[in-house]
């Protein structure tokens, strides 16, 4: 009797929380709580399949609001050394697109509320087959995609097909995105806008908060979508400063560094979740 009730409840939840709305719900809830989202980036399969699964499953409890999961690529041109190495570790441990989607599917079996955004480069998706990928991603419970090397000029490749599958396409805005270009960047954007805080690769140096705040304010004049800020945010203090004026703070290279420097897989899991807890605490308190 109880089991049946549980199933019914789960079905209701799954119906109510459709894929494209998990992100909306998340940002709506956080707005009520007057705090920014903590977004974590980890590469799927880093350092190996089992540790990566444990890392992923522990993120919500450690305080992550939105999960970015990297699809490893052999030639990550927009990433700095930390995430390049993470991709290589994952590929060497046998990670594939299919395994990444399977990771999401298994995560969804126990978590139906934390949004998952897959991040990476176009080629592994293109080779998997765009329609097949989107079908499998939607079924697995993927909420959004960030594909670094697909500017709006190529929206027909993946952005528009993703919308038809109910998957958000999160657009990157950068310090080089001027007023003339911004409308094009925002045109088919959904989910949230990812503001790349510096012109450069991931893991680089962080910009001054003053400059960032005015950039985010300018962006807000043109969009109602939530604005996440990433690239170069490594510490709880930085996250808190940026979280005061942005809707989400993305931390990636700092977490991936923990995996690189960990003594063992267990140590990696412990360190990553430890840093996430620290960041989460800071982000939760930043507007008080």
């Amino acid at each position: 009797m109880i089991a049946i009730q549980d199933n019914t409840m789960n079905d209701t939840v799954n119906q109510a929380v459709t894929h494209s709305s998990r992100l909306e719900q998340c940002f709506a809830t956080l707005k009520q709580q007057n705090r920014p989202a903590l977004v974590s980036y980890l590469t799927a399969g880093d350092p190996d399949a089992d540790a990566s699964r444990r890392l992923l499953h522990g993120l919500p409890e450690a305080g992550v609001d939105i999960i970015e999961l990297g699809m490893p690529f052999s030639d990550p041109m927009a990433d700095g050394p930390a995430i390049q190495k993470a991709a290589l570790r994952a590929l060497e441990s046998g990670q594939t697109q299919a395994k990444t989607l399977e990771m999401v599917r298994r995560f969804r079996e126990e978590n139906s509320s934390t949004p998952i955004v897959l991040m990476g480069y176009y080629n592994p998706i293109f080779c998997y087959g765009v329609e097949r990928f989107l079908t499998d991603a939607a079924n697995a419970g993927v909420d959004g995609l960030i594909v670094v090397d697909l500017p709006p000029e190529h929206d027909e490749e993946l952005c528009q097909p993703a919308a038809r599958h109910g998957i958000d396409f999160i657009r990157l805005a950068t310090p080089t995105t001027d007023a003339r270009r911004l409308p094009k960047v925002l045109a088919n954007a959904s989910g949230f806008i990812y503001y790349v805080s510096v012109a450069g690769v991931t893991g680089g140096s962080a910009p001054t908060p003053e400059r960032l705040e005015s950039s985010v304010a300018q962006l807000r004049e043109h969009t109602d979508l939530p604005i996440a800020v990433g690239f170069g945010i490594r510490t709880a203090e930085q996250a808190a400063t940026i979280g005061r004026f942005s809707d989400a703070v993305v931390v990636g290279s700092a977490l991936v560094d923990c995996i690189e420097h960990a003594a063992s897989a267990d140590d990696a899991v412990e360190q990553v979740h430890g840093l996430v807890s620290e960041l989460a605490e800071s982000v939760r308190a930043c507007r008080q």
Binding site: D75, M77, A78, Y121, D149, L150, E153, D178, A199, G200
Partner: protein, 408 residues
Amino acid sequence: MNKPMDLSSSLPDANGLFGSFGGRFVAETLMPLILELQDEYATAKNDPEFQRQLAYFQGDYVGRPSPLYFAERLTEHFGGASIYLKREELNHTGAHKINNCIGQVLLAKQMGKKRIIAETGAGMHGVATATVAARFGLPCVIYMGTTDIERQQTNVFRMKLLGAEVIPVTSGTGTLKDAMNEALRDWVTNVDDTFYIIGTVAGPHPYPAMVRDFQAVIGHETRTQMLEKHGRLPDSLVACIGGGSNAMGLFHPFLNDSAVQMIGVEAGGKGVKSGLHAASLNGGTPGVLHGNRTYLLQNADGQISDAHSISAGLDYPGIGPEHAWLHEQKRVEYVSATDAEALEAFQICCRQEGIIPALETAHALAEVAKRAPTLPREHLMVVNLSGRGDKDMMSVAHHLGEQLDEAC
């Protein structure tokens, strides 16, 4: 002799596509810059002053036009087609690469850029870039894979003499693709003041078309020279292909001449079936890398594979998108030559003609060795002698089992 660049071509389209190939698959940070470059290049293409400057430097600095030389002894050796060598190895810096670098550095100056970056494989593009950067007084950074640095030490020293900073790239396999990744990372970090001189007909639009146009001087000259010598067009054109810029430069002005046969020769390494090769068209599949869709060496999951070739300049797992399109259109025939075939042809050229070709170029000569004997003497075959082989002495000696003093 210096003809204006080809203005008649209808491809790529406005989005930089040759059919389904090409495009602008780059990070958003680079998009405004790439669009600006596209506009600036479109202006320069039709600007008589830019064209005048380009012609001046091609002539007095590079040494163009390069001769179209009848290789009498090579013709007799193979006993078939009449073989002509387009002597690009006589250009300043010893290869065709400088044709493109002169064009791009003039554009960089026009755009007010203060710093030049480039990737290099064999080092010829790095040397050509360092050369033009020195000539125009611009600081220059060259990215080069550690594997390539090892096998092309002379070129590394040349670049340093020319004032360039050579940054070793250890990521990946330490070859050309990794150097290109690193150059793109530099560019995305220094967008404001840096001009990236891409060395081949690949990368995001407008590079494939722009590099092609700067290299098309090879084909335009060949056309004029052959008409002067024989009053007719050549019957076939042969060129080696890594990214494909020397081949595209030779082929492009003849694309509409259906009677002219064109053969692109990829690096077959240990053989296309062995898996150890750099033949993207003959052994690869379509994918997206370095800003464009083209044929790539990759696994089923879209991870890029390592290329293999005796020649560092062809050791790249992709090919220019226009070649991918011409391959699918069947306008150009793409074949491959193995390391061993290239090494054999290299030696034949040295002994028969007194010309030491680059190992890259030797791949084109290997195809000539297969094809020329089957053809009559009236068949006029032009081979792009894209570079000289001085840089390859250590490498060739190693493969021939000779010991050379490091100093030579």
